[in-house]
Symmetry: D2
Subunit: 354 residues, 4 copies
Amino acid sequence: MSGNTFGEIFRVTTFGESHGAALGCIIDGCPAGIKADEEFLQHEMDRRKPGTKGAAVTARNESDKAEILSGVFEGKTTGTPIAVLIRNSNQHSSDYNNICDKFRPGHADYTYFMKYGIRDYRGGGRSSGRETCARVAAGAFAKMLLKEQGISICAYTKEAAGIKCSKTDESQIEKNLMRAPDSDAAAIMQKRIEELKKEGDSAGGIIECVIRGVPAGLGEPVFDKIDAVLAHAMLSIGAVKGIEFGAGFDAAELTGSENNDSMKKDAVFASNNAGGILGGISRGDEIIFRVAVKPVPSIYREQKTVDTSMSECSIKIEGRHDVCLCPRIIPVVEAMAAIAVADLSLRNRSSKSE
Amino acid sequence: MSGNTFGEIFRVTTFGESHGAALGCIIDGCPAGIKADEEFLQHEMDRRKPGTKGAAVTARNESDKAEILSGVFEGKTTGTPIAVLIRNSNQHSSDYNNICDKFRPGHADYTYFMKYGIRDYRGGGRSSGRETCARVAAGAFAKMLLKEQGISICAYTKEAAGIKCSKTDESQIEKNLMRAPDSDAAAIMQKRIEELKKEGDSAGGIIECVIRGVPAGLGEPVFDKIDAVLAHAMLSIGAVKGIEFGAGFDAAELTGSENNDSMKKDAVFASNNAGGILGGISRGDEIIFRVAVKPVPSIYREQKTVDTSMSECSIKIEGRHDVCLCPRIIPVVEAMAAIAVADLSLRNRSSKSE
Amino acid sequence: MSGNTFGEIFRVTTFGESHGAALGCIIDGCPAGIKADEEFLQHEMDRRKPGTKGAAVTARNESDKAEILSGVFEGKTTGTPIAVLIRNSNQHSSDYNNICDKFRPGHADYTYFMKYGIRDYRGGGRSSGRETCARVAAGAFAKMLLKEQGISICAYTKEAAGIKCSKTDESQIEKNLMRAPDSDAAAIMQKRIEELKKEGDSAGGIIECVIRGVPAGLGEPVFDKIDAVLAHAMLSIGAVKGIEFGAGFDAAELTGSENNDSMKKDAVFASNNAGGILGGISRGDEIIFRVAVKPVPSIYREQKTVDTSMSECSIKIEGRHDVCLCPRIIPVVEAMAAIAVADLSLRNRSSKSE
Amino acid sequence: MSGNTFGEIFRVTTFGESHGAALGCIIDGCPAGIKADEEFLQHEMDRRKPGTKGAAVTARNESDKAEILSGVFEGKTTGTPIAVLIRNSNQHSSDYNNICDKFRPGHADYTYFMKYGIRDYRGGGRSSGRETCARVAAGAFAKMLLKEQGISICAYTKEAAGIKCSKTDESQIEKNLMRAPDSDAAAIMQKRIEELKKEGDSAGGIIECVIRGVPAGLGEPVFDKIDAVLAHAMLSIGAVKGIEFGAGFDAAELTGSENNDSMKKDAVFASNNAGGILGGISRGDEIIFRVAVKPVPSIYREQKTVDTSMSECSIKIEGRHDVCLCPRIIPVVEAMAAIAVADLSLRNRSSKSE
């Protein structure tokens, strides 16, 4: 109800603030008997973790060690709630002291203050991107469940800082710091981001996500269509400002005869303008969508804003911040997609008489 | 759970198939004491209703009379469930006889068959766009609730059949058949749609929606951000393939210094790239989003598809179908936006200690 | 949320007031492919319907014809929402004119007024026992689903007007007007109720319910234990003031060695003090519980109460009212039990890895 | 969905097994600005904690230190999820080694095995009464919320081991080890329990709970009546086998004229057979209910049972176990009542137009 839970059967609830004691999640509704791969869990945490390897990402050194507190026994899920704890460490709350009564532009500072009447100035508190580490932990379990069903999820940077990929070679994704399927384009992105960093500015981009192995039939008409649930999942990521499936916004300019995907023998689709979804239900081929990621709002230039008395002032943000979120948001996109699909796959177990 | 309910406190559940006895909805959670305007309800139904006035819309003549069965007493809501019934009439199920074992391209025929093991061939059954009339009825009550809070919603055709509006004059919206805020552009759209109709083809478009009067503070972190809930609502409309807020996909190419909306005295925002939302919470100015509407899949050309035995065949669709959904989908976009915002406004009543 | 929905996967939402246009329900989440037996549906409605056969029940003549509006096609459920409509008729709203500003003792008149600020004086409005006809319609579908799983439900009057049954012969239940499994006791109950009727008074009783065929494993730890969900279901019936499972309140006086049910070969339980439930999960034998039914509050004696200005006054109720609810509440107890068990049986489909 | 969450707006999710790393809860939906009293939280934990003071309670020495991980800032709730962690310690898993393939009578061992296909033999795992410490933590926050509304909850042992209290002096409750409002009766209970302990047996009892200060209007018709929600809450406690409100099962033997509570000037009720609830909605006076607590199933006598191969065997339980749960279950009854009422009080914020 308060919005910290996602999913109906495979339900994920997250908690924690960027500068509190800990973050974490409870995954309720994961069936018993799923192999619980702790190494994979930590691997997923590490993929999201801030590092020092590229200019795009923050120089903070968070350890993000995930501890499983419950729901796993002798290497398998037990059907009871899986709680995962991630202790905070290395917080520099002092970075925020000089701006504690000012609202950072592009952040949720003002809106949280208006909603709750409280100013948790320590790096965004609950609205911080740091909250997504709990999602990645939950997503790791969703991926373990999906793996047993032969479903896999792959997201990558399609565009960043205005530079577009000109090919999609998934084998290159983890080989460049931008997580782009085109290492040449990635190099140019990287260069542009270095420049923006020097200018105290930041960049946005576009992430594409492909979900493979989803059987036909997932998605619940009429409100919980698989695209509706994925859109909900993606727009719940702070920096995401849009989503499109298949041909997406381009479909608006196509005619029906161009846009319709015809079918061939054995229900093979001849094209995929629909993004693998018809009437909100998966049709058995690849589900494809793209999300728009806004430029990081924490820039090092002086900006105009107001303080808690609603008086004008200027603000200068300090601390360590990403220049472009794309590489680090990819594990979050995958995690949320995994949670959404895992949930719909369990919901689908009730579609037919046994 | 099965996906026919939307909302947490202001909860709407719809029922009904395109060629069954009736459609309708239950609106549960509407507070007591709201003025129940039956005339307005019917007016909203009529806005969505198929008519004969423009080439864009179907020639079917559905009456779509909404009957309130419960929840209203002496002109006011009572706090108990409001049920609205819309009897079906004028169904031409026979239009579908010759395609009853074939899957129409671009429709949900195949996916419903795979999900439920049942082939309700009568015009899409539950997946038909006709289901949205129940949403419009529910949306009318949401609008009545929002009206008391000074919140209004306005959607219009921003682009159709590849023709873009070059101005946004809301006073022109209901003066042209495309419901475009630019009557000149509307005339060109109309002409292009006539041509497509002759060619047995169809068109898509883009709808823009503006929500005014929303106070700062609506939206529930972290998963039920106002943009996440609106995205869920919009993607639950069959023909919608994408959504973007504020600068949307264009934000991906902006820098942080360009994209951040700075604040002025009294918390006035100097620009609105964010679409009126920060951290998933309304900031008190206009909420703006756009949705991509795919071209109508029911076209009059021969198409390749498969039948229920998964063998290839060709299909030729008959009956009466819209050429471009934009004008008729506008009341649905508004209805879903109204339901989403009404729900979040009630959810926000619990944000603070009283 | 507003409380008019019961169930998580097999979800029932009811609507309607005692003197409004209609009552009804939406059953969402019923799997596709269940045989939809319309005759059985009407039979269940008729079991709850007020009749003239016994002194215990009201002399009103309601037809309670159930119309299926959606969700059924060619004799089977389709997986989409099943809506059932029951038009009101034969309402004597005028019976309530002279008490329209007075709160009837033992009824919800005062509490609804305090909650909603509205006085719907027409026979209780939403709080009327008439609302339960919508539950019986939904329960009929739940029973159809359970029948395919070999689960059956049987409730009967265990005690009424202070008279207890001294045997449990289920074959006698539908052979006497009290629906008691002991026709001799039923005759005495009936006589006592006739006397109370002459005195303008009313009686309560105890209903016992047995659920057979439930496999081991139903119920969701820790909050949605099968007994917790059944208790929720039963206490949601207006006249029910208590529930106990198995040995129930008597267990409070037993020792552990007396109360524990030991197990024999092939997991057969040697006794059933637990009511067929351990740790909130069904153990595969009979589930047994009893509910306390309060005496009908509508009596024909003058009573002390207050009016809407909170001033003291006396009230004399007119119209036609049951003297003892037991016989008519039995189909409602069965319906709610069926809905609860149907829901938990679908929820259990996600307990294990497939 | 999986049943580990209770509440709709004030939502509590618990996690953890008796012999895992930790237990805990997330409280989502607590409004911002509530005073977060950590001392009171620990005090509540200590009230439930096993101790050595009385024969009724186990001799285990669990520290049950509650750590707040999130949702509290500068002494107040922030409106974000409150996570509380309770590390397990002092577990004697070895106590269970010799019975690891046998199902303990009266416990959930068999039913969990049937549901999940997994045997977590370490003291009941998730089904252990130890899980209730997480509920008490959540209940402490519910009580903090209710305190600001002037609502208080008091539960006590009404009967134990067959001994009934003959007076209700709340000042005596915390002065005797049975938490009975009659210290003389408590002494007799205590003596009887000592005897049962020597005999290797155990005892049950009845808890009564009084909720004061609830305004008229709480409870959501029709399914989420306040008594239905409280019944759900109470029956979700493992050892509880029944509940009754006000006159309860005795009401079954009263006539309407005896049972109806008449009203006096200013809406004062002359009696309270209804337990403070009419039509499922609080009427503004005391809410009173009683729950039946079964005797502790862990007794030290040899019992007949089956093992995981469903073969007959005998079992002898070791370790430290309570003889009568009443004193320790009281904080759990209060916690669950507090959570239920807190939730309904927030839900009631949407009952009327503002």
